[in-house]
Protein backbone atom coordinates (compact mmCIF):
# COMPACT_ATOMS: atom_id res chain seq x y z
CA UNK A 1 0.00 0.00 0.00
CA UNK A 2 2.69 2.46 1.00
CA UNK A 3 4.82 1.52 -2.00
CA UNK A 4 1.94 2.11 -4.40
CA UNK A 5 1.07 5.53 -3.05
CA UNK A 6 4.80 6.22 -2.99
CA UNK A 7 5.05 5.33 -6.67
CA UNK A 8 2.14 7.58 -7.54
CA UNK A 9 3.87 10.36 -5.62
CA UNK A 10 7.10 9.69 -7.50
CA UNK A 11 5.32 9.86 -10.84
CA UNK A 12 3.57 13.09 -9.89
CA UNK A 13 6.87 14.53 -8.73
CA UNK A 14 8.72 13.78 -11.95
CA UNK A 15 5.70 14.85 -14.00
CA UNK A 16 5.74 18.20 -12.19
CA UNK A 17 9.45 18.50 -12.96
CA UNK A 18 8.89 17.80 -16.64
CA UNK A 19 5.99 20.23 -16.91
CA UNK A 20 8.14 22.83 -15.16
CA UNK A 21 10.96 22.27 -17.63
CA UNK A 22 8.61 22.66 -20.61
CA UNK A 23 7.06 25.81 -19.13
CA UNK A 24 10.48 27.31 -18.41
CA UNK A 25 11.79 26.42 -21.87
CA UNK A 26 8.74 27.92 -23.60
CA UNK A 27 8.88 31.06 -21.46
CA UNK A 28 12.51 31.59 -22.44
CA UNK A 29 12.15 30.82 -26.15
CA UNK A 30 8.81 32.49 -26.99
CA UNK A 31 9.67 36.22 -26.80
CA UNK A 32 12.74 35.83 -29.01
CA UNK A 33 10.94 33.70 -31.63
CA UNK A 34 8.04 36.15 -31.58
CA UNK A 35 10.31 39.09 -32.45
CA UNK A 36 12.11 37.15 -35.19
CA UNK A 37 8.82 36.13 -36.82
CA UNK A 38 7.48 39.69 -36.66
CA UNK A 39 10.63 41.07 -38.27
CA UNK A 40 9.86 39.22 -41.51
CA UNK A 41 6.44 40.80 -41.88
CA UNK A 42 5.57 43.47 -44.47
CA UNK A 43 2.37 44.56 -42.70
CA UNK A 44 2.00 48.24 -42.03
CA UNK A 45 1.21 47.62 -38.36
CA UNK A 46 2.53 44.97 -36.04
CA UNK A 47 0.17 42.02 -35.76
CA UNK A 48 0.57 38.33 -35.10
CA UNK A 49 0.60 36.23 -37.18
CA UNK A 50 1.80 38.52 -40.01
CA UNK A 51 -0.46 38.69 -43.07
CA UNK A 52 2.29 39.48 -45.56
CA UNK A 53 5.90 38.40 -45.46
CA UNK A 54 9.03 40.15 -46.66
CA UNK A 55 12.16 42.10 -45.82
CA UNK A 56 10.69 45.62 -45.68
CA UNK A 57 11.57 46.06 -42.02
CA UNK A 58 15.21 45.27 -42.74
CA UNK A 59 15.52 47.61 -45.72
CA UNK A 60 13.89 50.45 -43.79
CA UNK A 61 16.51 50.16 -41.02
CA UNK A 62 19.24 51.00 -43.49
CA UNK A 63 17.35 53.48 -45.64
CA UNK A 64 15.26 55.54 -43.21
CA UNK A 65 18.29 57.23 -41.62
CA UNK A 66 16.83 57.31 -38.10
CA UNK A 67 18.79 54.29 -37.00
CA UNK A 68 22.19 54.74 -38.60
CA UNK A 69 23.45 57.55 -36.34
CA UNK A 70 22.58 55.75 -33.08
CA UNK A 71 24.14 52.54 -34.38
CA UNK A 72 27.37 54.33 -35.31
CA UNK A 73 27.51 56.14 -31.94
CA UNK A 74 26.94 52.86 -30.09
CA UNK A 75 29.71 51.15 -32.05
CA UNK A 76 32.19 53.93 -31.26
CA UNK A 77 31.32 54.06 -27.57
CA UNK A 78 31.41 50.27 -27.21
CA UNK A 79 34.77 49.91 -28.98
CA UNK A 80 36.42 52.63 -26.88
CA UNK A 81 34.83 51.44 -23.63
CA UNK A 82 36.02 47.87 -24.25
CA UNK A 83 39.53 49.09 -25.06
CA UNK A 84 39.67 51.27 -21.95
CA UNK A 85 38.41 48.43 -19.76
CA UNK A 86 41.18 46.18 -21.12
CA UNK A 87 43.89 48.80 -20.59
CA UNK A 88 42.75 49.16 -16.97
CA UNK A 89 42.21 45.49 -16.17
CA UNK A 90 44.88 43.43 -17.99
CA UNK A 91 47.95 44.91 -16.24
CA UNK A 92 46.07 45.13 -12.95
CA UNK A 93 45.12 41.46 -12.93
CA UNK A 94 48.72 40.46 -13.77
CA UNK A 95 49.98 42.72 -11.00
CA UNK A 96 47.48 41.38 -8.47
CA UNK A 97 48.09 37.72 -9.26
CA UNK A 98 51.88 37.81 -9.67
CA UNK A 99 52.73 40.58 -7.24
CA UNK A 100 51.42 39.23 -3.94
CA UNK A 101 50.15 42.68 -3.11
CA UNK A 102 48.50 43.04 0.25
CA UNK A 103 44.86 43.91 -0.37
CA UNK A 104 44.73 42.41 -3.85
CA UNK A 105 41.56 40.56 -2.86
CA UNK A 106 39.97 43.78 -1.68
CA UNK A 107 40.85 45.54 -4.95
CA UNK A 108 39.32 42.71 -6.97
CA UNK A 109 36.17 42.69 -4.81
CA UNK A 110 35.75 46.47 -5.15
CA UNK A 111 36.24 46.29 -8.91
CA UNK A 112 33.57 43.57 -9.19
CA UNK A 113 31.15 45.19 -6.72
CA UNK A 114 29.33 47.45 -9.23
CA UNK A 115 27.95 44.29 -10.83
CA UNK A 116 25.80 43.83 -7.73
CA UNK A 117 24.88 47.49 -7.18
CA UNK A 118 21.26 48.26 -7.98
CA UNK A 119 21.95 50.00 -11.27
CA UNK A 120 19.50 52.85 -10.61
CA UNK A 121 21.25 53.82 -7.36
CA UNK A 122 24.67 53.61 -9.02
CA UNK A 123 23.41 55.75 -11.91
CA UNK A 124 22.26 58.46 -9.47
CA UNK A 125 25.68 58.40 -7.77
CA UNK A 126 27.43 58.65 -11.15
CA UNK A 127 25.06 61.44 -12.16
CA UNK A 128 26.18 63.54 -9.18
CA UNK A 129 29.87 62.95 -9.90
CA UNK A 130 29.47 63.61 -13.62
CA UNK A 131 27.49 66.80 -12.96
CA UNK A 132 30.30 67.99 -10.68
CA UNK A 133 32.95 67.19 -13.30
CA UNK A 134 30.97 68.60 -16.25
CA UNK A 135 30.82 65.20 -17.94
CA UNK A 136 27.04 64.98 -18.39
CA UNK A 137 26.14 64.65 -22.07
CA UNK A 138 29.75 64.25 -23.20
CA UNK A 139 31.04 61.46 -25.41
CA UNK A 140 34.04 60.91 -23.14
CA UNK A 141 31.85 60.70 -20.07
CA UNK A 142 29.71 57.98 -21.61
CA UNK A 143 32.79 56.00 -22.69
CA UNK A 144 34.16 56.29 -19.15
CA UNK A 145 30.89 55.17 -17.54
CA UNK A 146 30.54 52.23 -19.92
CA UNK A 147 34.15 51.21 -19.32
CA UNK A 148 33.72 51.10 -15.54
CA UNK A 149 30.45 49.21 -16.07
CA UNK A 150 32.37 46.59 -18.09
CA UNK A 151 35.32 46.32 -15.69
CA UNK A 152 33.71 43.64 -13.45
CA UNK A 153 33.11 41.33 -16.43
CA UNK A 154 36.67 41.71 -17.70
CA UNK A 155 38.12 41.22 -14.20
CA UNK A 156 36.14 38.00 -13.72
CA UNK A 157 37.13 36.59 -17.12
CA UNK A 158 40.82 37.48 -16.85
CA UNK A 159 41.38 36.57 -13.24
CA UNK A 160 39.75 33.16 -13.82
CA UNK A 161 41.94 32.66 -16.90
CA UNK A 162 45.17 33.76 -15.23
CA UNK A 163 44.55 31.35 -12.35
CA UNK A 164 44.98 28.60 -14.94
CA UNK A 165 48.31 29.88 -16.34
CA UNK A 166 50.99 28.40 -14.10
CA UNK A 167 53.66 30.83 -12.98
CA UNK A 168 56.18 27.97 -13.38
CA UNK A 169 55.96 28.48 -17.14
CA UNK A 170 57.17 32.06 -16.80
CA UNK A 171 59.82 30.86 -14.40
CA UNK A 172 61.01 28.27 -16.88
CA UNK A 173 61.34 30.91 -19.60
CA UNK A 174 63.21 33.20 -17.22
CA UNK A 175 65.67 30.53 -16.12
CA UNK A 176 66.45 30.05 -19.77
CA UNK A 177 67.45 33.66 -20.03
CA UNK A 178 64.27 35.44 -21.05
CA UNK A 179 63.64 38.72 -19.31
CA UNK A 180 60.44 38.98 -17.28
CA UNK A 181 58.88 41.18 -19.94
CA UNK A 182 59.73 38.62 -22.59
CA UNK A 183 58.42 35.76 -20.51
CA UNK A 184 55.17 37.61 -20.04
CA UNK A 185 54.73 38.59 -23.67
CA UNK A 186 55.86 35.24 -25.03
CA UNK A 187 54.20 32.92 -22.52
CA UNK A 188 51.58 34.48 -20.26
CA UNK A 189 50.01 37.00 -22.58
CA UNK A 190 50.02 34.53 -25.44
CA UNK A 191 48.16 32.03 -23.26
CA UNK A 192 45.85 34.80 -22.08
CA UNK A 193 45.01 36.10 -25.57
CA UNK A 194 41.77 34.12 -25.85
CA UNK A 195 40.63 35.40 -22.45
CA UNK A 196 41.59 38.97 -23.35
CA UNK A 197 39.61 38.77 -26.60
CA UNK A 198 36.71 37.09 -24.77
CA UNK A 199 36.72 39.78 -22.07
CA UNK A 200 36.87 42.51 -24.71
CA UNK A 201 33.87 40.99 -26.49
CA UNK A 202 31.83 40.86 -23.29
CA UNK A 203 32.79 44.47 -22.53
CA UNK A 204 31.82 45.54 -26.05
CA UNK A 205 28.44 43.77 -25.84
CA UNK A 206 27.70 45.14 -22.37
CA UNK A 207 28.36 48.69 -23.55
CA UNK A 208 26.45 48.25 -26.81
CA UNK A 209 23.45 47.10 -24.74
CA UNK A 210 23.68 49.65 -21.92
CA UNK A 211 20.49 51.68 -21.42
CA UNK A 212 20.48 53.08 -17.87
CA UNK A 213 23.72 55.08 -17.62
CA UNK A 214 23.01 56.65 -21.01
CA UNK A 215 19.57 57.80 -19.74
CA UNK A 216 21.01 59.39 -16.60
CA UNK A 217 24.33 60.64 -17.98
CA UNK A 218 23.83 61.09 -21.72
CA UNK A 219 21.88 64.34 -21.63
CA UNK A 220 19.56 65.06 -24.54
CA UNK A 221 22.23 65.00 -27.26
CA UNK A 222 23.78 61.56 -27.04
CA UNK A 223 21.43 58.91 -28.38
CA UNK A 224 22.87 55.41 -28.49
CA UNK A 225 20.98 52.54 -30.08
CA UNK A 226 19.44 51.21 -26.82
CA UNK A 227 18.37 54.77 -25.92
CA UNK A 228 16.81 55.22 -29.36
CA UNK A 229 14.88 51.95 -29.06
CA UNK A 230 13.91 52.81 -25.47
CA UNK A 231 12.53 56.18 -26.53
CA UNK A 232 10.67 54.88 -29.56
CA UNK A 233 9.08 52.04 -27.55
CA UNK A 234 7.99 54.57 -24.94
CA UNK A 235 6.53 57.09 -27.39
CA UNK A 236 5.05 54.91 -30.11
CA UNK A 237 6.32 51.85 -31.84
CA UNK A 238 8.36 51.80 -35.03
CA UNK A 239 7.95 48.29 -36.53
CA UNK A 240 11.53 48.30 -37.87
CA UNK A 241 12.65 47.77 -34.25
CA UNK A 242 11.81 44.09 -34.79
CA UNK A 243 14.40 43.91 -37.59
CA UNK A 244 17.03 45.74 -35.52
CA UNK A 245 16.25 43.45 -32.61
CA UNK A 246 16.72 40.35 -34.77
CA UNK A 247 20.02 41.59 -36.19
CA UNK A 248 21.21 42.49 -32.68
CA UNK A 249 20.23 39.08 -31.34
CA UNK A 250 22.10 37.19 -34.05
CA UNK A 251 25.23 39.36 -33.86
CA UNK A 252 25.32 39.34 -30.05
CA UNK A 253 24.77 35.59 -29.91
CA UNK A 254 27.62 35.10 -32.38
CA UNK A 255 29.95 37.39 -30.43
CA UNK A 256 29.10 35.85 -27.05
CA UNK A 257 29.41 32.29 -28.32
CA UNK A 258 32.77 33.27 -29.79
CA UNK A 259 33.80 34.74 -26.45
CA UNK A 260 32.76 31.57 -24.58
CA UNK A 261 34.68 29.45 -27.07
CA UNK A 262 37.75 31.62 -26.54
CA UNK A 263 37.42 31.28 -22.78
CA UNK A 264 37.17 27.51 -23.10
CA UNK A 265 40.35 27.33 -25.17
CA UNK A 266 42.34 28.51 -22.17
CA UNK A 267 41.11 25.64 -20.01
Amino acid sequence: MTTRSGKVGDRLFSLAGRVGAVVAFTFMAAPALFIVVLSFSNDKFIGFPPKTWGLDRYTSVFTSGTWLDPISLSLQVAALAALLALVLVVPAVLGMKRGMLPGAGLIEATAIAPMLFPIAAYAVAMYAVFAEAGLIGTFHGIVLSHAIHAVPLVVIVLSTALDRVRPELELAAMTMGASRARAWVGITLRLLTPAVLGGATLAFVSSFDEAVFITFLGGPGLVTLPKMIFDSVQYGVDPSITAIATILMVVTAGLMLGATQLRKDVR
Binding site: S14, F48, G99, V233, M249
Partner: protein
Protein backbone atom coordinates in the same frame (compact mmCIF):
# COMPACT_ATOMS: atom_id res chain seq x y z
CA UNK B 1 67.95 32.27 -36.04
CA UNK B 2 65.44 33.98 -33.85
CA UNK B 3 66.35 36.19 -30.96
CA UNK B 4 64.62 33.82 -28.59
CA UNK B 5 66.89 30.95 -29.58
CA UNK B 6 69.98 33.09 -29.19
CA UNK B 7 68.81 34.28 -25.82
CA UNK B 8 68.00 30.78 -24.73
CA UNK B 9 71.60 29.73 -25.27
CA UNK B 10 72.87 32.35 -22.81
CA UNK B 11 73.53 30.60 -19.49
CA UNK B 12 70.97 31.63 -16.94
CA UNK B 13 73.49 32.60 -14.31
CA UNK B 14 75.13 35.16 -16.59
CA UNK B 15 71.88 36.72 -17.66
CA UNK B 16 70.99 37.70 -14.13
CA UNK B 17 73.88 37.27 -11.81
CA UNK B 18 73.14 36.92 -8.15
CA UNK B 19 69.35 36.79 -8.52
CA UNK B 20 67.10 34.19 -7.04
CA UNK B 21 64.50 33.00 -9.51
CA UNK B 22 60.97 33.87 -8.70
CA UNK B 23 57.83 34.39 -10.69
CA UNK B 24 56.93 37.11 -8.26
CA UNK B 25 57.01 40.75 -9.20
CA UNK B 26 58.81 43.37 -7.23
CA UNK B 27 56.30 45.27 -5.16
CA UNK B 28 57.00 48.51 -7.02
CA UNK B 29 56.20 47.04 -10.45
CA UNK B 30 53.06 45.39 -9.10
CA UNK B 31 51.85 48.66 -7.59
CA UNK B 32 52.46 50.48 -10.88
CA UNK B 33 50.49 47.86 -12.80
CA UNK B 34 47.56 47.90 -10.42
CA UNK B 35 47.52 51.69 -10.03
CA UNK B 36 45.38 52.66 -13.09
CA UNK B 37 42.58 50.26 -12.12
CA UNK B 38 42.73 51.30 -8.47
CA UNK B 39 42.54 54.95 -9.50
CA UNK B 40 39.59 54.30 -11.81
CA UNK B 41 37.77 52.28 -9.14
CA UNK B 42 38.42 54.94 -6.49
CA UNK B 43 37.15 57.73 -8.76
CA UNK B 44 34.21 55.94 -10.38
CA UNK B 45 33.08 53.37 -7.82
CA UNK B 46 34.17 54.38 -4.32
CA UNK B 47 33.93 58.16 -4.67
CA UNK B 48 30.43 58.19 -6.27
CA UNK B 49 29.05 55.97 -3.51
CA UNK B 50 30.57 58.12 -0.75
CA UNK B 51 29.45 61.29 -2.47
CA UNK B 52 25.93 59.90 -2.72
CA UNK B 53 25.94 59.13 0.99
CA UNK B 54 27.47 62.53 1.87
CA UNK B 55 25.10 64.49 -0.39
CA UNK B 56 22.06 62.68 0.96
CA UNK B 57 23.04 63.81 4.47
CA UNK B 58 24.19 67.36 3.74
CA UNK B 59 22.29 68.74 0.74
CA UNK B 60 18.66 69.86 0.80
CA UNK B 61 17.23 69.15 4.25
CA UNK B 62 20.29 67.23 5.43
CA UNK B 63 19.28 64.06 7.28
CA UNK B 64 15.73 65.29 6.74
CA UNK B 65 16.04 64.01 3.16
CA UNK B 66 15.52 60.54 4.54
CA UNK B 67 12.48 61.65 6.53
CA UNK B 68 11.16 63.27 3.37
CA UNK B 69 11.87 60.18 1.29
CA UNK B 70 10.26 57.80 3.77
CA UNK B 71 7.27 60.02 4.51
CA UNK B 72 6.54 60.70 0.84
CA UNK B 73 3.61 58.52 -0.05
CA UNK B 74 4.81 58.03 -3.64
CA UNK B 75 8.28 56.90 -2.58
CA UNK B 76 6.97 54.64 0.16
CA UNK B 77 4.63 53.02 -2.32
CA UNK B 78 7.47 52.65 -4.83
CA UNK B 79 9.65 51.01 -2.19
CA UNK B 80 6.96 48.51 -1.21
CA UNK B 81 6.25 47.76 -4.88
CA UNK B 82 9.95 47.40 -5.70
CA UNK B 83 10.65 45.04 -2.81
CA UNK B 84 7.52 42.90 -3.27
CA UNK B 85 8.00 42.62 -7.03
CA UNK B 86 11.70 41.84 -6.65
CA UNK B 87 10.86 39.14 -4.11
CA UNK B 88 8.37 37.63 -6.56
CA UNK B 89 10.94 37.86 -9.36
CA UNK B 90 13.53 36.16 -7.15
CA UNK B 91 11.21 33.26 -6.31
CA UNK B 92 10.12 32.79 -9.93
CA UNK B 93 13.63 33.12 -11.37
CA UNK B 94 15.02 30.62 -8.89
CA UNK B 95 12.15 28.18 -9.46
CA UNK B 96 12.31 28.25 -13.24
CA UNK B 97 16.10 28.65 -13.21
CA UNK B 98 16.49 25.60 -10.96
CA UNK B 99 14.38 23.48 -13.30
CA UNK B 100 16.50 24.60 -16.26
CA UNK B 101 19.79 24.12 -14.41
CA UNK B 102 18.74 20.63 -13.30
CA UNK B 103 17.67 19.80 -16.86
CA UNK B 104 21.17 20.80 -17.95
CA UNK B 105 22.64 18.61 -15.22
CA UNK B 106 20.65 15.54 -16.28
CA UNK B 107 20.73 16.02 -20.05
CA UNK B 108 22.76 13.33 -21.82
CA UNK B 109 22.19 14.30 -25.44
CA UNK B 110 24.30 17.16 -26.72
CA UNK B 111 21.41 18.61 -28.72
CA UNK B 112 19.30 18.96 -25.57
CA UNK B 113 22.17 20.58 -23.68
CA UNK B 114 22.85 23.01 -26.52
CA UNK B 115 19.16 23.94 -26.90
CA UNK B 116 18.63 24.51 -23.18
CA UNK B 117 21.81 26.58 -22.88
CA UNK B 118 20.67 28.58 -25.91
CA UNK B 119 17.30 29.50 -24.38
CA UNK B 120 18.94 30.22 -21.02
CA UNK B 121 21.35 32.67 -22.67
CA UNK B 122 18.74 34.18 -25.03
CA UNK B 123 17.92 37.09 -22.67
CA UNK B 124 21.62 38.07 -22.68
CA UNK B 125 21.70 37.95 -26.46
CA UNK B 126 18.48 39.93 -26.87
CA UNK B 127 19.71 42.91 -24.93
CA UNK B 128 17.99 44.91 -22.24
CA UNK B 129 15.70 47.04 -24.37
CA UNK B 130 14.74 44.42 -26.94
CA UNK B 131 13.54 41.96 -24.29
CA UNK B 132 11.21 44.53 -22.85
CA UNK B 133 10.02 45.49 -26.31
CA UNK B 134 9.11 41.85 -26.96
CA UNK B 135 7.12 41.68 -23.72
CA UNK B 136 5.40 44.98 -24.51
CA UNK B 137 4.22 43.54 -27.84
CA UNK B 138 3.21 40.18 -26.31
CA UNK B 139 1.22 41.75 -23.48
CA UNK B 140 -0.46 44.59 -25.39
CA UNK B 141 -4.29 44.77 -25.54
CA UNK B 142 -4.25 43.27 -29.04
CA UNK B 143 -1.10 41.26 -28.32
CA UNK B 144 -0.52 37.54 -28.66
CA UNK B 145 -1.29 36.68 -25.02
CA UNK B 146 -4.68 38.39 -25.11
CA UNK B 147 -5.49 36.80 -28.46
CA UNK B 148 -4.61 33.38 -27.05
CA UNK B 149 -6.64 33.94 -23.87
CA UNK B 150 -9.69 34.91 -25.93
CA UNK B 151 -9.26 32.05 -28.38
CA UNK B 152 -9.16 29.62 -25.46
CA UNK B 153 -12.29 31.21 -24.04
CA UNK B 154 -10.61 32.13 -20.78
CA UNK B 155 -11.61 35.78 -21.15
CA UNK B 156 -14.22 37.51 -23.31
CA UNK B 157 -12.72 40.98 -23.41
CA UNK B 158 -9.02 41.81 -23.75
CA UNK B 159 -7.52 42.19 -20.27
CA UNK B 160 -5.11 44.89 -19.26
CA UNK B 161 -1.74 43.12 -18.92
CA UNK B 162 0.73 45.79 -19.97
CA UNK B 163 1.38 48.53 -17.39
CA UNK B 164 0.57 46.23 -14.49
CA UNK B 165 2.94 44.77 -11.87
CA UNK B 166 2.46 41.38 -13.58
CA UNK B 167 4.02 42.64 -16.78
CA UNK B 168 6.99 43.98 -14.81
CA UNK B 169 7.38 40.69 -12.95
CA UNK B 170 7.27 38.71 -16.22
CA UNK B 171 9.83 40.95 -17.94
CA UNK B 172 12.18 41.03 -14.95
CA UNK B 173 11.96 37.28 -14.41
CA UNK B 174 12.90 36.77 -18.05
CA UNK B 175 15.96 38.94 -17.53
CA UNK B 176 17.02 37.34 -14.23
CA UNK B 177 16.64 33.64 -15.13
CA UNK B 178 20.08 33.49 -16.83
CA UNK B 179 21.69 34.90 -13.67
CA UNK B 180 19.84 32.32 -11.57
CA UNK B 181 20.87 29.43 -13.82
CA UNK B 182 24.51 30.56 -13.94
CA UNK B 183 24.58 30.88 -10.14
CA UNK B 184 22.84 27.53 -9.54
CA UNK B 185 24.58 25.44 -12.17
CA UNK B 186 28.02 25.07 -10.52
CA UNK B 187 26.59 23.57 -7.33
CA UNK B 188 24.14 21.39 -9.29
CA UNK B 189 26.78 20.04 -11.65
CA UNK B 190 28.83 19.01 -8.61
CA UNK B 191 26.01 16.79 -7.29
CA UNK B 192 26.78 13.08 -7.50
CA UNK B 193 23.71 11.49 -9.08
CA UNK B 194 24.55 8.17 -7.38
CA UNK B 195 23.60 9.75 -4.06
CA UNK B 196 20.06 10.31 -5.32
CA UNK B 197 19.86 6.77 -6.69
CA UNK B 198 21.16 5.43 -3.41
CA UNK B 199 18.61 7.30 -1.33
CA UNK B 200 15.80 6.02 -3.53
CA UNK B 201 17.27 2.52 -3.42
CA UNK B 202 17.03 2.77 0.35
CA UNK B 203 13.32 3.51 0.06
CA UNK B 204 13.12 7.29 -0.09
CA UNK B 205 10.47 8.76 -2.34
CA UNK B 206 11.54 11.20 -5.03
CA UNK B 207 10.33 14.18 -3.08
CA UNK B 208 12.12 12.87 0.04
CA UNK B 209 15.34 12.43 -2.00
CA UNK B 210 14.90 15.95 -3.29
CA UNK B 211 14.35 17.41 0.18
CA UNK B 212 16.89 15.44 2.18
CA UNK B 213 19.67 14.80 -0.36
CA UNK B 214 19.58 17.23 -3.26
CA UNK B 215 18.47 20.40 -1.47
CA UNK B 216 21.18 20.38 1.23
CA UNK B 217 23.82 19.81 -1.45
CA UNK B 218 22.76 22.73 -3.62
CA UNK B 219 21.79 25.08 -0.79
CA UNK B 220 24.93 27.29 -1.04
CA UNK B 221 24.20 27.85 -4.73
CA UNK B 222 20.56 28.64 -3.95
CA UNK B 223 21.53 31.20 -1.31
CA UNK B 224 24.08 32.86 -3.61
CA UNK B 225 21.57 32.95 -6.47
CA UNK B 226 18.86 34.43 -4.24
CA UNK B 227 21.10 37.28 -3.10
CA UNK B 228 22.43 38.01 -6.60
CA UNK B 229 19.00 38.00 -8.24
CA UNK B 230 17.37 40.09 -5.51
CA UNK B 231 20.15 42.70 -5.35
CA UNK B 232 20.12 43.22 -9.11
CA UNK B 233 16.31 43.18 -9.30
CA UNK B 234 15.69 46.07 -6.93
CA UNK B 235 17.68 48.43 -9.17
CA UNK B 236 15.80 47.73 -12.42
CA UNK B 237 15.03 50.83 -14.43
CA UNK B 238 14.20 49.92 -18.03
CA UNK B 239 11.63 47.17 -17.34
CA UNK B 240 9.48 49.11 -14.84
CA UNK B 241 9.41 52.14 -17.14
CA UNK B 242 8.54 50.23 -20.33
CA UNK B 243 6.26 47.51 -18.91
CA UNK B 244 5.01 49.11 -15.69
CA UNK B 245 4.41 52.63 -16.90
CA UNK B 246 3.20 55.35 -14.55
CA UNK B 247 0.87 52.95 -12.73
CA UNK B 248 3.70 50.75 -11.48
CA UNK B 249 6.38 53.13 -10.25
CA UNK B 250 9.54 51.37 -9.14
CA UNK B 251 12.01 53.14 -6.89
CA UNK B 252 14.25 53.54 -9.95
CA UNK B 253 11.47 55.32 -11.86
CA UNK B 254 10.74 57.61 -8.92
CA UNK B 255 14.41 58.44 -8.48
CA UNK B 256 14.74 59.24 -12.18
CA UNK B 257 11.68 61.54 -12.00
CA UNK B 258 13.10 63.22 -8.88
CA UNK B 259 16.24 64.12 -10.77
CA UNK B 260 14.91 65.02 -14.20
CA UNK B 261 11.37 66.25 -13.52
CA UNK B 262 11.30 67.61 -9.96
CA UNK B 263 15.01 68.50 -9.70
CA UNK B 264 15.02 67.07 -6.18
CA UNK B 265 18.46 65.46 -6.20
CA UNK B 266 18.83 65.29 -2.38
CA UNK B 267 15.68 63.19 -2.03
CA UNK B 268 16.78 60.98 -4.94
CA UNK B 269 20.15 60.53 -3.25
CA UNK B 270 18.50 59.48 0.02
CA UNK B 271 16.26 56.97 -1.75
CA UNK B 272 19.26 55.62 -3.68
CA UNK B 273 21.25 55.16 -0.47
CA UNK B 274 18.34 53.18 1.01
CA UNK B 275 18.24 51.02 -2.13
CA UNK B 276 21.99 50.39 -1.97
CA UNK B 277 21.75 49.54 1.73
CA UNK B 278 19.07 46.92 1.05
CA UNK B 279 21.18 45.37 -1.72
CA UNK B 280 24.28 45.33 0.48
CA UNK B 281 22.31 43.75 3.31
CA UNK B 282 21.11 40.98 0.98
CA UNK B 283 24.61 40.37 -0.41
CA UNK B 284 26.21 40.59 3.04
CA UNK B 285 23.78 38.09 4.56
CA UNK B 286 24.45 35.65 1.73
CA UNK B 287 28.23 36.15 1.92
CA UNK B 288 28.08 35.45 5.65
CA UNK B 289 26.05 32.29 5.09
CA UNK B 290 27.95 30.75 2.18
CA UNK B 291 31.20 32.72 1.98
CA UNK B 292 32.40 35.29 -0.52
CA UNK B 293 33.80 32.53 -2.75
CA UNK B 294 30.41 30.94 -3.52
CA UNK B 295 29.00 34.36 -4.25
CA UNK B 296 31.89 35.23 -6.56
CA UNK B 297 31.50 31.80 -8.23
CA UNK B 298 27.83 32.57 -8.83
CA UNK B 299 28.79 35.53 -10.99
CA UNK B 300 30.44 33.41 -13.65
Amino acid sequence: MSAAMQQATVPAGRARPGKTWSAQLSRRTAVLMVAPLVLAVLLLVVYPIFKLLYDSLTQGDGPGNYVEAVSSKAIRRAFVLTLLNSAAVTVLSLGLGAVLAWTLRLARRRLVTALVWAVVLLPFWMGVVVKNYAFALLLARDGLVNTALRALGIVDEPVQLLYTPWAVIAGMTYTMIPYAVLALYPSMSAVDLELLNASQGLGASRSRAFRSVLLPLVLPGVIAATAIVFAISIGFYVTPVLLGGAQTPFIATVVGDDIFTFFNYPRAAAASVLLLAIALAAIGTAAKAVGFKSLRGGLG
